[in-house]
């Protein structure tokens, strides 16, 4: 039992924080916000050089075999800089699903390329009518003589506009009709009759909606052997939520520091804002919540390889609790910055918006407290 960072982990943290501090500032973020790609390909190449894209991938596929704790260290630093590169989509979700579900051939074909930065992935799973229910998929994959025919609508696809391959979930329907299984399909972004409508994502980066109307795919597009992919999707999204939780901690820490600084300097009625006990206590509550968020994010990371119920409860618990503190810290940062906080003149708003996006991604606090509760019942309701 030891929660101290190892020397390697400490080094990773230092290098990530240094990189972020040097490469990301307000100007860079403004440029990216108006960029059609929403992130910098140069930075992505640097991620590859630093080994960060290879981090969680197994060594046999060109990776470093790192753990969720290291991913968390990286993500917390990313949060400090509001990094908008498609790390979650490609590395945390994409690579993990390929590694868990893919055939050896698929893994060999894709994972080394992710590690070296030449392939980017995205996961298209959410649908509007499903809300946050991961099991609810209306997209259909019909088995055809030549392969597969996919039809459906996906929304909120993280970084789908930048992906070379999009992993699309669909209900498999074969000769005997609906199989009850969800399959994951590798769909090249170049596939005809795939309509990608991308948009600026709240808090930075881009997401997209995808229309699939009779998208024809070869047999080999199916990731793996056609076992129901729902458990893998849940597993991957739990990992993504743990990573996003660490990112949120980084964001909150910046907001806490910035707001603290501001209340010391800003004067009202002849004295600094921080002279108000109400504001000191508010900041104390923010600090407590950031500390708690750090603890619970770490817990989710340490549990990503636990058995499914434990893993899912840790991930949902962390997502729910950090979502709540993120809203509190974000909203209070705006409040304590006063009028300026509500404008684009300061960066507080950008950090706040990323936290709002965090709380929404993969379901908000209430959804995840509910999932945590349902998974925790010792008996089944009558």
């Amino acid at each position: 039992m030891d929660l101290n960072l190892t020397d390697e982990q400490r080094l990773l943290r230092e290098s990530a924080e240094r990189f972020v501090a040097e490469s990301y500032d307000a100007d860079h973020r403004r440029k990216m916000a108006n960029d059609p790609l929403g992130f910098s390909p140069t930075v992505w190449k640097q991620f590859a050089e630093l080994g960060w894209l290879a981090l969680p991938i197994a060594e046999e596929f060109g990776g470093l075999g790192g753990s969720a704790v290291e991913i968390g260290i990286l993500m917390e630093a990313f949060g400090r800089g509001l990094v908008s590169e498609p790390y979650i989509a490609t590395v945390v979700l994409g690579a993990a699903l390929v590694e868990r579900c893919g055939s050896t051939a698929q893994k060999q074909a894709i994972l080394p390329k992710i590690a070296e930065g030449s392939v980017k992935l995205a996961l298209a799973h959410s649908e509007r009518a499903a809300r946050f229910d991961l099991a609810k998929v209306a997209t259909i994959a019909n088995k055809t003589a030549q392969g597969w025919r996919l039809s459906g609508s996906k929304i909120a696809v993280l970084d789908g506009h930048a992906a070379d391959e999009i992993i699309v979930s669909a209900h498999i329907r074969d000769q005997r009709g609906a199989s009850g299984r969800i399959g994951l399909f590798l769909v090249s972004a170049q596939t005809p009759s795939l309509v990608i409508s991308d948009y600026v994502r709240l808090g930075g980066g881009r997401s997209c909606n995808i229309e699939l109307s009779d998208v024809f795919l070869p047999e080999a597009a199916l990731l793996g052997d056609g076992h129901d992919a729902l458990p893998a999707i849940e597993w991957a999204i739990d990992r993504a939520m743990a990573a996003l939780g660490a990112e949120a901690v980084g964001i909150m820490q910046v907001l806490l520091d910035t707001t603290l600084e501001y209340t010391k300097i800003r004067k009202q009625f002849g004295r600094p804002l921080s002279a108000n006990q109400v504001i000191r206590h508010r900041l104390a509550d923010m600090a407590v919540q950031v500390d708690e968020a750090r603890s619970i994010a770490l817990r989710a990371a340490l549990k990503v390889d636990a058995e499914p119920v434990q893993r899912a409860r840790a991930a949902s618990g962390a997502k729910a609790k950090i979502g709540r503190s993120a809203r509190f810290v974000g909203e209070q940062s705006i409040q304590l910055h006063g009028g300026m906080g509500v404008t684009e003149e300061l960066e507080v708003g950008a950090y706040f918006k990323r936290l709002v996006a965090f709380d929404t991604l993969f379901g908000g606090s209430a959804h995840h407290y509910d999932r945590h509760a349902r998974l925790g019942r010792t008996t089944v309701p009558a």
Binding site: S126, R128, A129, A130, R131, F132, D133, K136, I155, A156, S197, Y199, V200, R201, L202, S207, N209, K267, Q268, F269, G270, N276, V278, I279, R327, E331, I334, Q335, G338, G339, G341, V342, T343, E344, E345, G349, F352, K353, V356, A357, T360, L361, G363, G364, A366, H367, Y369, D370
Partner: protein, 398 residues
């Protein structure tokens, strides 16, 4: 005690409904619904002002001799409630509700004759120059200075958070004409033509992506002394009068209810995967609805007291505090209701004139901007922290 309307009040309600049905176009309604900031764009809002003015309802709170309709408090309640229910545009409140009453109370006969009809008709569009960088909630520390030079003041300085300064042709402003022993002494209330040389306006974008407020710079701006309202150095008093004029006439619950209704409809729609069936959304809608019920009752208690000439007491801070908190609760509920779709940012404005297909259904377009812009509710007009200071001091004596 009776919550229901009497026969006259019901008749008036029918009259208001008839007026709205006849004058409110679908375009106006849609534009209002698709405006994620507090104020309607002037093309929308002033069209409504003209319709109201034609009916003699251009300035509900004004005395009859200046064109007010002479309504009872209950009639004002009915008018505001029906307007909110129907989703009418916002008129230029800085004219009708803010500078108008000050001119009526303290302006010269010339000022009254010149400005009041132009507010009623919508010919003038006003903005308010109070706040300055560095003097947020502590307004009395303002630094914009007006120096007397013959029959003019020469104004230098800057105002911030100036709503619709980029639309307005006139501004009423508090400026410093001398340095009194107390900060609030030596402030004067001045009417400024926005086309006067030396005035420049810098847009300030909100985090919701809207251009609603501005910073206005004054560089040797020459304004006739005749444009000062009331006495020199008494501007602070007039500004306070304005606040008292507003006190007790707060009728916010009807608008809040409509905002909540729109969110509840989204929650019950397939567009959100029936968010209402998700944990906590339904009960949060109820929580907010009950909060609005309580606010409405407080407003009606104040109204009843006013109706019989009683002083409603220091409830205006409670109304301001709760109104702003409930507004924020509504907008936040909106974000949680639309779920995934809260991630999509639509940067184009105005939203009712988009020339492309948005990433989310039209009903959702204002949800996130309203939440983001709505953070300002607990900041502007005196932060919630300051309202609590006031409640503690005025109501509790501590």
């Amino acid at each position: 005690m009776d919550l229901s309307f009497n026969a006259e009040e019901r008749a008036f309600q029918d009259e208001v409904r008839g007026f709205i049905a006849k004058n409110l176009t679908e375009e106006m309604k849609r534009a209002t619904a698709l405006t994620p900031s507090v104020f309607s764009d002037p093309d929308v809002g002033m069209a409504w002002q003209r319709a109201l003015h034609a009916r003699g309802w251009g300035a509900p709170g004004w005395p009859v001799e200046h064109g007010g309709p002479d309504w009872t408090p209950a009639q004002r309640w009915i008018f505001e409630t029906e307007s909110a229910r129907a989703g009418v545009p916002n008129v230029n409140v800085m004219g009708v509700k803010m500078v108008g009453p000050v001119i009526i109370g303290f302006g010269s006969p010339e000022q009254k004759n010149f400005y009041l009809p132009r507010i009623l008709s919508g010919e003038d569009y006003w903005c308010q120059g109070y706040s300055e960088p560095g003097s947020g909630s502590d307004l009395s520390s303002l630094k914009t200075r007006a120096v007397r030079e013959g029959d003019d003041y020469i104004i230098n300085g800057t105002k911030i958070w100036t709503t619709h300064a980029h639309h307005a042709n006139r501004m009423f402003a508090l400026v410093r004409t001398s340095d009194g022993p107390r900060q609030q002494d030596g402030i004067s209330f001045i009417l400024i033509d926005m086309k006067t040389p030396g005035i420049t306006t810098r847009p300030i974008l909100t985090i919701g992506g809207d251009h609603e407020v501005n910073q206005v710079f004054f560089d040797d701006v020459r304004v006739p002394v005749a444009n000062r309202v009331g006495e020199e150095g008494k501007g602070w008093t007039y500004g306070k009068y304005l606040l008292e004029f507003e006190r007790g006439s707060g009728i916010a619950s009807a608008k809040l209810r409509e905002g909540l209704k729109a969110i509840a409809e989204l929650a019950e729609s397939d567009l959100t995967g029936r968010a209402i069936d998700s944990p906590d959304i339904a009960t949060r809608i109820s929580e907010v609805e009950v909060d609005i019920d309580a606010l409405e009752m407080t407003e009606l208690r104040v109204l009843s007291a006013l109706q019989t000439g009683q002083n409603p007491g220091a409830v205006s801070s409670i109304l301001k505090l709760r109104n702003s908190e409930i507004r924020q609760a509504v907008t936040r509920l909106g974000v949680d209701v639309i779920g995934h779709d809260a991630l999509a940012v639509e940067p184009m404005r105005p939203l009712y004139q988009l020339n492309h297909e948005p990433a989310v259904p039209e009903e959702m377009l204002t949800v996130v901007p309203e939440y983001l812009n709505g953070r300002a509710y607990t900041i502007f007009g005196g932060t919630s922290e300051i309202q609590r200071d006031i409640i503690a001091k005025m109501m509790l004596g501590i």
